[in-house]
Amino acid sequence: MPIISLSGIEKVYRTKEIETTALENVNLDVNQGEFVSIMGPSGCGKSTLLNIIGLLDKPTKGTVTLLGQSCDGLTDRQLSHFRNANLGFVFQSFHLIPSLDVAANVELPLIYRSGLSARQRKERVEQVLERLEMTHRIHHLPSQLSGGQCQRVAIARAIVGQPQIVLADEPTGNLDSKMGAEVMGLLHRLNKEDGTTIVMVTHNEAQAMETDRIVRFFDGRIIG
């Protein structure tokens, strides 16, 4: 059974004057442990699709099924809990919280999870940072880190809650090629070592080629 299953997804943005179709009849299945790239020109609906998979946005039509559970009709609280337990996000601009140090940024998903003591949270954060070789920066603020380090912290934050699915929106878009390669290496490690399912939006053909599958988008439709 696919871990992500999109069926007949349509997303229409409506204003008083205009109606824009961002996604049209999108059907997509992603299997457990798969690393999938989504490619396409700007404005074709890639990020919209990622947001719908991440339960950050709702489709106008269609069904989203994650981990075998239909997400239609879930309340905002249920969606929040589902995201917290099962999904990790990596953004192009890292989106670390500037007021918090590395440890507190990484800890973020855990503070919204019940049943974890402060000590358990601290242990998990240290483990993840050690794995991503960021322990030496644990008390630094994001402003004191390089772009590559910021993205490592962002990846640490995405995986600290041990989600089954990581959604990455152009994770190397703001990095130079060397750092980009490092980040891609990390994502591949996660995918291989933990079996984490990764869906990544990218413009980088070479990086996409390294993934298990490429889904190509154009004008809100899957074209290949």
């Binding site: 946005d57 929040s80 995201r83 917290n84 337990a85 918090l100």
Partner: protein, 427 residues
């Protein structure tokens, strides 16, 4: 909590102007509120010499009218009326007869200067009800206070001004151009103790009896009041009920003369005594007065809260992406609201405590602003503990809490309603 404090410090660094204005606005709002609250509280909170305020009732004023409503007489009551109404009530520990109000007298001692002092006429029980601290000599005996002996108790500052020393016991003093002997000196008191404050205390003397006059005004009206120290646990209403019954007794002698009494819920407790408008022919409207106070407090809270709300809204604007990220990682809408309210509460609390401190310093420094200070210069303020106690701090924290809830609720609710995608992209 640690994260919230970090966030606040970070916010202050990143947005120093807005954060600074927010902090100062909070300080000033709570300061203003505290000034009003302390000013109001000082009128009711017990402090020496009125440490008994929570058990104190005062009977003063008298009102009669013709049954047909053609004529109405009201004013201060005579000793005869006050004794009829308030002497020997059940549930009362001490009853003191005293002048209805304080009044000014010219004072001259051994020093050259003649000066004005606030005087009261009191009986021996007065010093049992009110804790004027004796620093030399003694109070009146019951026999002295019921006689016309020319003896007085004076305040320390009066003694120093009149004689150049505090212990003026046995010294001759000229009061209102008449010679008296000082038998006791008490510590100065605050003019805020409106029932008991004084610098010169005359004996009550031998009261006139009604038989000496047949004029209704002379019999029933005068300038006498009764201070009642109610026993612990006795309900004020039970005292009022007894007094009301005594009004009915007075009616039996007044009605044949074509008059009847009008009862105005006397004797008054401290809340009524603290009210600004209490007339001899009106029934004090305590609930109306309370409502006015609450409206004033509400205005004092809502107006700054609206401004603080706008400021918080501006501060939150810079954190939209953060809110989106938090939502993405599982933060619920309600958690967003509570987090923002908590953060804001911490700022409000710190600002509030600074506001309280400023309020207390101001209140202590400029106590003359409280009331018309009729004293000649004994600006003794109530002990700081009487206004700054756990009750006041609790009020301040409650004010901060309410201010925070009012000011933070709308921005917090708006932040919680943000679409996570739009928030992350800061649209």
């Amino acid at each position: 909590m640690k994260q919230k404090i970090r966030q606040i410090i970070y916010d202050m660094r990143r947005q120093p102007l807005i954060s600074g204005v927010t902090f100062i606005a909070t300080v000033m709002s709570v300061f203003l509120f505290m000034i009003v609250a302390i000013t109001s509280r000082v009128k009711t909170v017990p402090f020496a010499p009125e440490s008994c305020r929570d058990r104190l009732m005062v009977g003063r004023y008298f009102n009669i009218k013709e049954p047909n409503g053609n004529s109405d007489n009201s004013g201060g009551a005579s000793y005869y009326v006050i004794k009829q109404l308030y002497d020997g009530l059940e549930g009362v520990e001490q009853t003191s007869f005293m002048s209805q109000d304080s009044y000014n007298v010219p004072v001259h001692g051994t020093e050259n200067e003649t000066f004005q002092a606030t005087a009261r006429t009191v009986d021996a029980a007065f010093f049992k009800i009110f804790d004027h601290e004796l620093i030399a000599g003694r109070y009146f005996t019951a026999a002295e206070s019921a006689s016309d002996l020319p003896v007085v108790v004076i305040s320390e500052s009066t003694a120093r001004k009149a004689f150049g020393k505090a212990d003026a016991t046995g010294m001759p003093i000229t009061l209102n151009h008449k010679k008296y002997t000082v038998i006791g000196v008490v510590k100065d008191t605050s003019a805020l103790a409106t029932t008991a404050h004084g610098d010169v205390f005359f004996t009550f003397g031998t009261p006139a009896t009604p038989a000496q006059s047949d004029d209704i005004w002379s019999i029933y009206f005068g300038g006498v009041a009764a201070a009642l120290l109610v026993k612990d646990g006795v309900d004020f209403q039970s005292i009022r009920d007894q007094v009301k019954a005594r009004y009915a007794n007075l009616d039996t002698e007044l009605k044949p003369q074509g008059w009847e009494t009008v009862y105005h819920e006397s004797p008054y407790d401290q809340e009524v005594l603290a009210m600004n408008i209490v007339g001899s022919n009106v029934t004090p409207d305590t609930s109306g007065d309370r409502k006015m106070r609450y409206v004033l407090y509400a205005i004092l809270l809502i107006v700054p809260a609206i401004n603080l709300s706008n400021l918080l809204h501006s501060r939150m604007h810079k954190r939209i992406t953060e809110i989106g990220v938090r939502r993405a990682f599982g933060c619920t809408r309600s958690r967003i609201i509570t987090d923002i309210i908590w953060e804001n509460f911490l700022i409000t609390l710190v600002g509030g405590l600074v506001g309280v401190a400023l309020g207390v310093i101001f209140a202590m420094t400029y106590s003359g602003l409280y009331e018309n200070m009729r004293t000649f210069g004994t600006e003794v303020t109530p002990a700081i503990s009487s206004v700054l106690n756990w009750g006041t701090i609790l009020i301040a924290v409650a004010v901060c809490f309410v201010l925070n809830i009012i000011s933070a609720s709308i921005p917090a609710w708006q932040a919680s309603r943000l679409n996570p995608v739009e928030a992350i992209n800061n649209k």
